[in-house]
Amino acid sequence: MPNSAPVCPVTEKHIRIALVGQPNVGKSMLTNAISDARLHVGNFSGVTVEKSEVFFDYKDYHFTIVDLPGTYAFTDYSIEERVTHDFLCNEAYDLMINVVDSTNLEKNLQLTAELMTMNKKMVLALNMSDEADREGIVIDYEYLSKLLGVAAVRVSAAAKLGIGSLIESVIAVHEAPYQEPKLVFSEAVEEEIGLIASYLDEHRFSAVISNRNIAINLLQNEKKTYRTLHDLPLWTELQPLLIEADRHIEMHHDTDDVKEVFAEEYAAFIRGVITETVRYTEQPVEKKSPTERVDDLLIHPVLGIPIFLFLMWGLFQLTFEIGNIPMEWIDAFFGWFGGTVGATIPNADIRSLVVDGVIAGVGAVVLFTPNIIILFIGIALLESTGYMSRVAFLLDGFFHKFGLHGQSFIPLVTGFGCSIPAYMSARILKNDSDRLLTLFIIGFMSCGARLPVYVLFTGAFFAPSVAGNVLFAIYIAGALIGLIAAKVLKMTAFHGQDEPFVMEMPKYRLPSVKLIWHTVLTKTLMYLKKAGTFIAGASMLVWFLSSYPHSHEIEAAYGAKIEQAADERAAAHLTVEADAAQLEQSYLGRIGKAIEPFFTPIGLDWKMAIALQTGLAAKEVVVSTLGVLYAVGEGVTETDKTLISAIRTHIPFASAVAFIVVIMLYLPCLAASVVFTREAGGIRYFIYLFLFTTATAYALAFLAYHLTLMVTGAPALLPH
């Protein structure tokens, strides 16, 4: 009989694992340790806000690991909690790995107990065993396994210990039939569970799940079980039984909140299990832990905030001082490279495309890689040491006055790196109006891609000794304007209730060099990749638009003048003039001239206006556009060809200030705007954001421009 039996030559075995646990227990790091992935890891709650899948093979199994956002309890209040909740309830997976922090089992097992009623195969990964060893915590894994009825494995994601046995035990649990975990409740609750279960038994009710477990879920008001049984005939008799049971339990616990009842039940159960299985060789007596000693200083009520500001100041100082050391070499390299490559290209137009377009544009962006790296290191340290939550704690009172939530600090700081993860990270805010408010001001935290513009301009206009301070001032100004904007928005658009501030403060951890290296390397490579692809493309476009059409009249007219020039200096001067005239009548020049009137009041000429517009695609393009525009415009006669000196000679100081203000405040780049629109929940929010940022940027740039003119006594830019 052909074609009748299903043919399956290779039975591929798949295991799909959901990684569940409370926040900051090392789920993402464990995923990385198992599979060589590069998920984002950080020492605060709410690093992961979106599920991510990772694949790997082991023996003859294909594994899929789904790393989920951490959740303290099985609830669905905030978006990130909802991601986990919905995944566990609605999606297919074979098994959960419940990751817990071995140094804080009491709190972590609370979630475990909740998960134990979910009728899913489960392996308990007791992570951070290296820290547990250091803190003198000894766990009897076998006995713990036995008491819970769940396989328990000792692992350390950081030290890569126990990873092999974890996978082996996943396979063993996967291959074995489902075994119900052992939860034990207080006598009062057990009695009610017994009554309901035996009622179900008597009526010969049977499901995949044991009747005991159904009884537990009914008492917990678990929606799905409720819904299923609600439609059955036996419900009419079951319901009064349940009501009676609830009444007994609530009376016994002296509360009318089942969630609280069960939390207390689980806590009592867990305390029992821990007494049996965990030993503390070092009593945590009056001695202060290292974390507490560091905290004495870092979250000191008086010194805390000054210390934070000092550290930030130090970071920007380093960004400028150290970042600028290799700058000359990179600049020289691209100069040499452009010259060398240019010499091999006979065609003048193509040569200009490659040298003045691609190499000048990409070079201008790559130039700032060292600065970006230092900024990234700073952010990585903030994220991975545990300091982030401390600053949120310190600033909460202050933030609250401006209508923000202390935890907004986390997305806002992330915004100094890149706005995209920052928009995502705002998901940790439970309250929607807090979240929207934060989304609206994230753009005011200058992202890493804007750093090059600032470094370029501060480098051009200030002595190196103060440039770092100016850089710091720019960032602080952006943040302060963001706070004021938040206050205004809170009073007008987003009133809404104040959300409670309840946040875990993780212990301090010394991040490994490897972790920092990976984080920084990944981000830096992304920056360089963007320079080599997107920025190179954009530079070509800018080059094309600024080189064509080529006016032969101008060429002829200046050609004649140059020949009659009195000396070489005059000839050189004329050449520059000719190039400028060519540029002004190019496509880009014409566009620039058309929009210039709008920018004249804030002191920007058409080149700067164009650079701003291209920045809407990506902020790095601002520098590359300036690079191309000044390279094309300057021709070859300019003796000092660096971009910095071009900026210094061609842009008046007041205009530069206005330019910085706009860069600081206007619309984030295209990719970020897309993410913003998605996270905020609709295109109309994007329109608000556009209007809001544009109005703020324009008004403040106008103010800054005229104030600077007044102070410096320089004449205003006049319309041409």
């Binding site: 309890a73 140094t103 609370q110 979250i299 009520p301 939550s389 309840v502 875990e504």
Partner: protein
Amino acid sequence: MRQTVKLTECMKGCRATIVKLHAQGPLKQRLVSFGVMKGARVELMGFAPVKSTVEIKVGRMRLALRKEEAELIEVNADAQ
């Protein structure tokens, strides 16, 4: 029996046992999921600037709370 007090009425460094949570709804559930529940032991670690926020220790975990939330936690403070 000693009198119970609000957690915020304790001094820095005081240790206490939680008697009752006066929070409601989601806030209560959040606190409970952090282990802040009846019978749990807490220690008041300190205040943030302007005293608007407090840091407490529950079990082995440190938790930051706003004053308004901490006021909802009724405790029985240990004798000093």
